[in-house]
Amino acid sequence: VQAIALLGHRALMAEEGGKWIYLVGIMALLWIPLGLAIYRWKSVLGFFRSVQVGIVTLVLIGLASIGGVLFHQEDPNHPIPPPEAGKTVFQTGRYEHYLAFRNAEAYFAYHLLHGLGLHYLPGVARECTVDDKAIEGTMASLEKKIPPIRDRFGEEYAVALLASSRKGLRNRAEKSEIASLETDWDDLWWTLFNWADRLDLVRVYKSAWYGAFWGILFFGVLVNTFRGGVRPLLRPGRWGFLLAHSGVLLVIAGGYYGRLREERGMLDLHVGEVRDHFQLNDGRSVPLQRPALLGVSTPFALRLDAFRSDLHDVLEVIYAREDPSGKLFPEFPLEPPKERIFPGKKLAYDFGASKSGKTGTRAPQLALEITDYFPQSRIKKILQDAGTGEEISAAGARLMLLDPGGRVVREGVLTSSPDAGFIHCPSGTRIRLVQAADEQAARASLESREEARFGQIHFLQGKMQDGSDCLDVRNGARGRLQLEGREYRIEILQATPLLQLGRSPEGQMEQRPLGRPLSQVEPANPAVQVKITAPDGGVEERWVLEKGFHGRDPRFPEIRMTFEWDRWNSPAPDRWMVLVTSDGQALLGRVGDPASLVDLQPGHVRSLADGYRLKLVEALPRAWIEERPVSLAGAGFFDSSPGAIRVAARTPEGEEDFYLRADGEREWKKISYSGRDGTQRTVLLHFHQDDKDMPLEWRSRLSVLAAGTGSDSGARVLESGEIRVNDSFEYDGIRFFQTNARPEDPTYSGIGVVFDPGIEIVLTGFYLLTAGTILAFLVKPLLRRRIAAAR
């Protein structure tokens, strides 16, 4: 089998003219089993009928599998290249495989030898050996600091802290010793690697001999199951035996068939993108089309209609203390407890020690209960009349934006305060509310034009040459950042309201075009590309996203910055102002065009230049907005509105009820109370989406399009479906399943593509094996017992 496999591989690799030599060799080798099967068929049958052969094969499969577990297996999609004559151990491609092999084997050897009581491994320097005493010493000092933490956060948090610390310290020490074991035993690993490579022990499961064992087992089970003919197997007492063994046969047969015909690969898609090819795991690009065994199959294309990565909503509870400058610092230098949220969840803190001195045992001083949780929420803005109150001086209005067909596409409750927001039309036009003393002042407001910019970068450390810590983002804008005595040149290369990354035909990551003028695109993923030049001439080009992702492994990690897209001043086709005068009159005008100023009465509809229309519902000269998160009823999974919670907090000083929303603005809540020891406690509650852990779920909505019918709304949709991890979508025998997402690119979805006609056969085998096991091990003994009892 090994020889046939080798010749087959050579035949595939050979030039067109040289293939026949190997094919002749394969035919010659095939004559041996064929000849045996034809001329000595009784002996062949006897061989497979032999129980010893069957059991020995099973044992050999077991032993080979043990080998597969004990030797680091190569990635089938990236096989180890064969050694080349004249190349050193550092042969490109092979050496990387060796390093992975060495690390895995050293990791195993470390645990095996330490398990056997060998504390000091031969050849490994003493200073690299795990120092249990040092770890215990560190843990002892840590345990002394635990009682106040147990008092504040409870027993479970203290246990978690100790357990993860012990494990973390141990992991760190073990890594160091394993690294030493890798380098100090390098000759041994290198020899082992080469021998394992030669004997296929690094690719056991795809080796020809392992496949041959399964083949022998298949024929052995087949011959032995039906050795007495079919009729005896039809007796009820033998049903379990028949079904279980038929199941095993189908699993093996389906596995073989699948391996012969399967195609596996990946499809990188962005929302709205259409692809008719996908990339196989070996790098080849093939059309989306069922590989037909007979006849012809129809190619098709796939469009990603929607994608969302839903993150977990978490609540962090941070005890803080205030320094003289008013800044809040964590009271405990720890990762704060991070609680996942669900309605009815109760949390308790600040227990305090009992009279006997046992910490964390008394009734909690701070109790929180999540009384409501909206996984997707919207802010309900309620325009409130401020009357003649002295504190509020902003004007307010409730507006509706209608599309050319008269449908309401946006609703807005705006005030004239600087951070009160505005309406962003689908066409890119923006509308905001401004307070004006009278009509003349309103006209003057329309004349003043702010300077266009994309947004602003804030540097978290260092100062710009003008002493500020920010830089306006405009095309080609430059600045100099002073940081720790060094001067970096900062240059804005480009900014975009929607960053989408994709793979070029050459496999490189590249920015996808927007498809519409920048001024019309809503800022769904604003980002700026910055060029940083160090004093020594080193250059880094970095994407900074408003959503907080800063790229991996920056060249200058000391430069930390945030970016904020300017939603009003960024390029726009048009800007309009609703102006409310001190007597409550509302006016509408286009920025830069005072002559466009018109009266806007409640209930009136006025046209904007782009076909959209604005309707005033209500205007107030003195108003404030009450904002309350409410559940976004009926929202589908792909709506990315942030979650919100309603919290009931109880402290010794009373009860409080409030909302938190994971939208960046309403994430924090400060609670203060006096502790048992008389000191003031300050607690910060932080409700946000957890982007450090795995997401809650990824989901994609896909449409199968008839090939050649385009990608827009005119394309012929053959079928649509949703995929999530654990739920695939199948079209014409090709299965699509959710594989990947990129935190830096929220519109990207990585979709696995599989064609495996053996799956159904294997699954049938699984069901038969299950049924056979139940019959043989459960039903049959119970029936026997019953019959015996009856007799």
Binding site: V51, F71, Y107, K327, L328, L696
Partner: protein, 389 residues
């Protein structure tokens, strides 16, 4: 801490199983030592069947021991109830099937272990035994309870943080696949313990009973096997040399009784059948776990078998038991020979369940969801840091 939260209920389960274990061991020693004292009072001994006949104090002693035996089963049942309560409490705390971290999986395993013990107690007919023969059943249950107590003690030292389920684990298979495996694994641990107990008795009888012949290589093999679990830590030491020592004490005590060790003959004759019945309970669950894993994998990764190191480890364990099954059915192996396969099968299950993380390919396994990110509390060790916001 709430009295009905997960941690408290695990502590309660620990107390109940530890109490059961201690009570069981005391009852076992009392049962084995009673005939010694009874012989001095010229009391007759019955192996299986009616208890020690004779004087009122002896009859009272038998009644007490019978009551202790029932209490042992009662404590096992109480531990099961508390353990089930703990799992329900944990479900309410984390809002998913509590089987993600070892802090959750091990108590799920002990829960299935208690259930399996109670089922086997009746399937194996241990409740019908009387006299010294019942002592073996009590020893068996007591050791299982001690094992569960040690496991739960270890659980209380683990990181109790409830972690959210990653997308790959959010499937209905998550509960059934892991629970079936846990039931299978813990039932096979029970089979391993039963086999090991019988081997240990054989070892001591071979050494101490002149009329009992055991091949020398069997004695060497049992002696060597004692050392195999030692590297696995405290539980390994208790299971290997610990059980060997305990059975040695029982045999020493038994040697002084009038019937000597005749009662063990019945156990040895039935030992093969005893372990076979345990196997019959465990194997369908192991098979179900394996098949459900394949069904789940083809839903999540569109491949029913990915040759992941955990999958292969589980397959190796399954092959051990498939070989055991075929050796008995087809080749006709009975007794000691087939029981050796059970013993190594138990070892394979333990490696798959607990030692898998040390295997070469485990670091890149798709089945490794936890304990990769443990870091020490740097803030406490090296204080300092910036403002909150």
């Amino acid at each position: 801490m709430n009295a009905l939260d997960y941690r408290s209920l695990i502590q309660l389960t620990l107390v109940l199983s530890a109490a059961g274990g201690v009570l069981g061991l005391l009852a076992v020693f009392a049962r084995f030592l009673m005939p010694v004292f009874a012989s001095r009072s010229r009391l007759a001994l019955a192996g299986e069947g009616p208890a020690v006949a004779g004087s009122a104090p002896a009859a009272f002693g038998q009644k007490v021991l019978q009551g202790a035996s029932r209490l042992l089963v009662g404590l096992c049942l109480a531990a099961l109830v508390a353990n089930v309560g703990a799992m329900v409490a944990r479900y309410l705390e984390v809002r998913h099937w509590p089987a993600q971290t070892m802090y959750e999986v091990l108590p799920l395993g002990t829960c299935t272990g208690f259930l399996s013990t109670l089922i086997l107690y009746y399937v194996l007919g241990l409740h019908r035994l009387r006299g010294i023969a019942r002592g073996f059943g009590d020893l068996f249950v007591a050791l299982l309870l001690v094992g569960a107590a040690f496991t739960l003690k270890a659980v209380l030292g683990l990181d109790p943080s409830g972690r959210p389920l990653p997308p790959a684990l959010q499937s209905y298979w998550f509960s059934t696949h892991i629970t079936a495996y846990m039931f299978g694994y813990f039932t096979f641990f029970i089979a391993t313990l039963a086999t090991w107990l019988l081997f240990c008795f054989k070892f001591w009888r071979g050494l101490l009973d002149p009329g009992y012949e055991v091949p020398r290589r069997t004695l060497w093999a049992i002696g060597a096997f004692t050392l195999i679990p030692v590297p696995f830590g405290v539980q390994g030491i208790l299971l290997g040399p610990g059980v060997l020592l305990l059975t040695g004490l029982v045999v020493l005590a038994g040697r002084r009784s009038p019937g000597r060790l005749a009662w063990l003959d019945a156990w040895e004759k039935g030992g093969d059948d005893f372990t076979w019945k345990i196997f019959l309970v465990g194997f369908p669950f192991l098979t179900a776990g394996l098949i459900q894993g394949g069904l789940w994998a083809q839903e999540a990764w569109a491949t029913y078998w990915g040759w992941d190191s955990k999958e292969v480890s589980a397959l190796i364990s399954w092959i051990f038991y498939a070989v055991y099954l075929h050796m008995r059915y087809v080749v006709g192996w009975r007794g000691e020979k087939s029981m050796w396969i059970l013993l190594f099968g138990g070892l394979s299950v333990y490696i798959t369940f607990q030692l898998f993380g040390f295997l070469p390919a485990s670091q890149s396994s798709l089945h490794r969801y936890t304990d990769m990110s443990a870091v020490p509390a740097e803030g406490l060790l090296n204080p300092g840091g910036g403002p909150v916001n």
